[in-house]
Symmetry: D2
Subunit: 338 residues, 4 copies
C-alpha cells in the first residue's frame, strides 16, 4: 500500500517535505498540495497531484490518506482539527497551535475520537544523536537525572525575528526534546537577559538565558542565542546522580592546517537535522501504513510546548519573573491518569 | 516508474538488501529472488516476488529491470556477465570477481557494449564521513596528497577466516576507497607481519601491516587487525603538502562516569556503515530510474581491486616482498586514455 | 637571594606548600613553621627551620622574609594583618577572611601602607588552561563576553561538608577566576536547588545551581555538584559576540578497549591543579625576590570573593532570591577610581 | 646541598638549560660555563660562574659537581668520556655520539667504572603524556604490544637540514622513546620515500616513512615530515592485543568561531616539550643530590639510538632496503645478561 499524502502549505518547509516524500521515503506519494497561493502550490506539486487553494477540500479528498500540515502557524489548529474530524492521520509542523486553547481543542478532539491521529513535527526526537542520548538516560547507568545544560545557537536572525520567537520558534525544540528525554513535565520557566550582543537588530533581546524546572525537580538551563555568528550549534548535557551524557556534535573530518586542528560546524538547521527530517517522515509513513497510532510527538506534546513557550514569553516581558506553567490534566490517551 | 529488482543470493547480505529495497529505498520493488537453495530464497522473498533457483532465469526475466548480485563470490562474474549481456543495470557485491581475468572479462564486455551497466558494492564511497574526506582532499586546501595512514580493525574473526582474506575481504575496502579518494592507481603492495596476537585462531597471520604505493607516489600504510577485541574501528588520514584530514569517528554521546569520559565504538560494520548501505542502494536506484550510467564504483574499480588484493596475497605468501600491481590499460569508458 | 618563608599551619595544605617550597621551587627555603599544635609543626618542618606554636612570633621573626598562611580559615585575617603590619609579603590560602568586614580591614591596612603585600591563594589563575582561556578572551577575537557556563564537580563530600560550603569553599574558585577572566565585578547572585542527589549526606543541598550577573551585564551560570561520583571535573565556557572558548580538559591518553574510547578524569583537585599550585608558588617567590608587588589575586580579590560568597549563602537560605552583592568602593591601589 | 653544574656549550640549548637551572629548578646552580667561543660563554653565564673556553678544564674543576653537555654533536663523546673519567654525573644532549664506536666507548667506560654516570637528553621520557602512555602500556590492560604508529612533523626545515637528519635529529626521539615504551630493542629499519612535498629545499627527501621491527616482533611505522607547514605535531599510538592507547595532544582551549571548532597546535618543540625539559633537569638534579645513578636514558640508550639512526640513513641511501641493526651485547650495568 502506498500512502497518499496531502500537503498543506507550499512554502519552504512544505516544499522540502514534498521532495522528501517523493524521493527519499518509500511507501508514500504526494497526491494533493494546497496553498492559499494556488500558483505556488502548483509550482511544487508533483506530476499527477491535485492542486488546491482550499485546505479543507484537501483534507476531505478521497485521494488523501494522510495530511501533512506545513502552512502558516496560525492556520495549523483548524487544519489539524479538520484532519481529526475526517479521521485521517496528520503530521503538523510546529507549532501545533499558536494558542494553548487551540492546542487543548485538538487534544480534546482526539480524546473524543478515542485514538491518536496527530503527530507534531518536532524532528529532534528522530535525530540519531538525541536518540542515543535518550537511550543513555533511560538505561539507568547515569542514575536519576538532576540537571540539563543546553544551548541553541543560530548564526544570525533576520529583522522579522522578534524577542518572543526565542521561546516560540527556537527554544520550543529544546522544550519538547527535554520533556521527552526526561519523561517529565515542565512546571516553571524563567527567562533572563544577559548583555545583548551588538550583532543583532536593535529591537531584539539576544541572547536569552532560560531556566526550567520540571515536576520531578530537574533544573534545565538553556542559552538561546540567535546571532552567535559562528554557526548553528546545538548542545545538550544531562547530568544524573552517577554521571553525565552529552549530545554528540555531528561527525565531521578533523583537519590540521595553518596552526590549528579544526572541524566544521553546520551553518543552519537544514544540514544539522537533514537525516532527522528524513527519519521523521519515514517513520510516520511506516506508522500510517501499519495502521497504528503515531509514536512521535503527540497533540499533548504540542499543547504542552505551547503552554510552556507562552509562560516563557510572559517571563521575558515581566523582567524575568519565575512563571508557572499550568497544564490541564493529561488524558489517559497520552499516558496520563485516567 | 518503480524499478523491479531481481536479487541473486538470499544469504545475510542479500536479505539485508531485500529489506532495504522494500522498506528504506523509494522507487524500487524486489520482483524476484534466486538462490541455489530455493527454500532460502522463498523464505526471504517479499510477497509477490518470483522465487527461483536459477540466477540466469532471474537475469533474463521480463519482471526484472535491474539485478543485485549478492551470491557467493566465485559466482559473481558469471552473473554480472549475464546481466551485461541482457543489457540490465547490475549492482554486484564485492568482489566483482575472484580472479583478475574474470574481472577483465566484465570490463571488456562493458567496453564492447559501449556503456557502463555495472556497479560494485563498495559502500564506503557512500559514507558521509568518507564523502566529507573526499571533499576536503579535492578542494585543494591541503595541497597534493603525499601519504595516507589507515587502520581496519574487527573485533574478532571466525576460524574460517584465513590469512589471504585480510587482503581479499578486509583491506579490499581501503584499496577501493583510497583509489577513489586519491584518484590514483596502486602500483606496488607489500604485506608485513607484526607479532601476531594471541587472540586469534592459530592458522591466521593477524595483524597484517600493508604498504601501498600509487602511480603518483603516494605511500599508503594500512593496519589490518581482525581480532582487535575492542570493536569495529575504521581510521583513515590523508596527509597533504599543507595539512591533513582525518576520517571522523561516528558521532556518539560522550559519557562521564566512573572516572572516565568515553564514547561507544561500533561492534561491527553493519552499524558503522548502515547509512552508507542505504545511500548506496538509494543512489543506485535513483540512477537506474534516471536511465544514466552508474556513478558508483565501476567494473574497472572492481577489476583493479582484484588485481591489488592478488598482489597483496602474493606479498604475504612470499614473506613480505614488494609486489608489483599490473593492470591492463584502462579503457576510455572508465576515464582512461582513449 | 633565597627567600626565607615562614609557613603558618601544618595541616594538609601547609605540608604540601612546605614540600613545594623545599623541592619544587627554586630560590626559597622554609625557615619557620608554626601551628597551634606544635608537634604537628615539628613533624613537617624541614631540618633547620624554627618550630613555633605562636604565629605572631613567626611573622615577626628576623628569619622570616615572607609569610605563607595555611592555617584554619577563621585565623587568616589576623595573621595576614600581622604580616602587613610587619611589612612582609604574605600569601594567604583562601579564604582571605571568613567575614567581609575582616577582608575590608586587610584592604584598608594595605591602602594605609600604600603598597600591596597580600596575595590570595586562588591557584586557578596559574593553571595553563585558564591562562590560555584568559588569552583567548583578552585577544578580542571572540568579541565582548556575554555569558559564561561553568561546572565544578567533586566526586563526593564528607559529612562535615555543609550546604553553605558549596559557595564558600567550592564556588569561590569560580567566583575569583571569572572576575579575573572577565575583568568585571559580580553584582547579583542567585542560588537554586535542583533535585538533590541520593548520593549525599541528608543535610546537604547538592547539586546547587548558581547564577551571577556582572556589572557589565555578563550572565554566569555555575553548577556546583560535590557528589557527582565520577570524578573531579571543572568546566568553563565563555561565550562572546563572535564565538566561544572552552577550558580544556587536562591532556590524557585516549584508550580504545572493551567497546569504548575513553580518557581518564582526575579523582580530585590535587592532581588536576598540581602544576597550577607549583606555578603559583614559583611566581610568588620570583616576585618576592624581585621586590615588586604581587601580581596574583589581591586582597581586594579576596575581599570581593567573601562578599559574593556571603550573598550566595544568603540566596540559598532565602529560597533562591536574587541577592545583591554590595562592595565598598575599590581603592586606587587595586585599579579602582582614586 | 646545592649541585654546582658546569655547562659545556653556550648555544641555544645550553642557554636554555642555564636559564632553567637558574630559575626553574631548585637545588642547583650554574658554577661554570664553557664554549669554544669564550665571549659567547661569558654573555650567558650567570653572575659568579666561571667562564672557560676549554671544556676539559670545566669538567675537572673543583667548582663543578655535575656536567651538562650542550655543545656541538661531534664534541659530545670526548666531553662525556672526560666526565666519566672524572667520576662526575653528566647529562648529555642528544646525540650521545655521532658514531656508534664512540657511543660504545662511553658504554665501556661506564662498565669499567662499575656505575652509571651518564644520562642522555631525550626529554620525551619526561613528558607527562608519554609517561601516561608508558603507564597504560605497562599496566597490562591493553595486552602485549603488537604495533606502534607514529608521526613526527615539523613546520619547516632550513636549507641546512639534510636528508640524513630526518633519522639522526628527528626520528631519533621516537627511536628512543619507543625503545623505552616497549622495553624492546629495534632490530631492523627500512626508510621509504613517499612523493616529496613541493614545500621543501630541493636537496631534501621529505617526508620519509620509516619502518622498524623490534626483537619482540613489534612493527613500528613513523612518518617524519619536517615541512608539514601547519605546526609541530607529535603522534604516537600503541596497539596491543586487547586495545590501543594514543599519546594525548597538549591541552588547549577549544574555540568555536567562524564556522569551525578548533584548537591551537604548537609551532615548535620548545612550546610542546617545555614542561618535559623542566622535569628532565629537575629529576636529574634531584638524582645527583640523592647520590644515586641516573634513572633517565642511559649511555646504552644513547649508543643504541646512534646504531639505529645509522641503519636508517643506510636504508635511505640504499633505496629503502631493510637494514639490520647490530648492537653489541648489553652489559649487565644496563639490565642486560651478565
Amino acid at each position: 500500500m502506498t500512502v497518499r499524502v496531502g500537503v498543506i502549505g507550499a512554502g519552504w518547509i512544505g516544499t522540502e517535505h514534498i521532495r522528501r516524500l517523493s524521493t527519499t521515503v518509500p511507501g508514500a506519494r504526494v497526491s494533493a498540495v494546497s496553498d492559499i497561493d494556488r500558483e505556488r502550490a502548483s509550482s511544487v506539486a508533483p506530476q499527477g497531484a491535485a492542486v488546491l487553494s482550499d485546505s479543507r477540500r484537501l483534507v476531505e479528498s478521497d485521494e488523501v490518506d494522510a495530511v501533512l500540515v506545513a502552512s502558516w502557524g496560525p492556520a495549523h489548529a483548524e487544519q489539524v482539527l479538520a484532519a481529526v474530524a475526517a479521521g485521517k492521520p496528520v503530521l503538523c509542523e510546529k507549532p501545533l497551535a499558536t494558542d494553548p486553547a487551540d492546542g487543548l481543542r485538538i487534544v480534546e478532539a482526539e480524546h473524543a475520537a478515542g485514538r491518536r491521529l496527530v503527530q507534531v513535527g518536532f524532528m529532534r526526537r528522530f535525530d540519531s544523536g538525541y536518540r542515543a542520548l535518550k537511550e543513555a538516560v533511560d538505561d539507568g547507568s547515569l542514575g536519576t537525572p538532576l540537571m540539563a545544560h543546553c544551548a541553541h545557537r543560530n548564526k544570525s536572525a533576520q529583522s522579522s525575528y522578534t524577542s518572543d520567537m526565542a521561546a516560540r520558534d527556537t527554544a520550543v525544540h529544546e522544550i519538547d526534546v527535554l520533556r521527552w528525554l526526561l519523561d517529565d513535565e515542565i512546571t516553571t520557566v524563567q527567562v533572563l537577559a544577559p548583555r545583548s550582543t551588538g550583532k543583532r537588530h536593535p529591537h531584539l533581546t539576544d541572547p536569552q538565558f532560560m531556566l526550567f524546572e520540571t515536576a520531578g525537580g530537574v533544573r534545565i538551563d538553556l542559552e538561546v542565542f540567535v546571532n552567535c555568528q559562528y554557526g548553528y550549534d546545538i548542545q545538550c548535557e544531562i547530568v544524573g546522580e552517577e554521571g553525565l551524557v552529552r549530545l554528540p556534535d555531528p561527525a565531521a573530518p578533523r583537519v590540521r592546517a595553518a596552526g590549528r586542528e579544526s572541524t566544521a560546524i553546520f551553518a543552519d538547521f537544514t544540514g544539522r537535522f537533514a537525516a532527522a527530517f528524513d527519519t521523521e517522515i519515514r517513520e510516520w509513513i511506516d506508522g500510517v501504513r501499519a495502521g497504528g497510532e503515531p509514536t512521535g510527538p503527540s497533540a499533548w506534546d504540542g499543547y504542552a510546548a505551547t503552554v510552556v513557550t507562552d509562560a516563557a514569553v510572559e517571563s521575558l516581558t515581566t523582567g524575568g519573573a519565575v512563571t508557572a506553567v499550568e497544564l490541564k490534566p493529561r488524558p489517559a490517551l497520552y499516558g496520563g491518569a485516567a
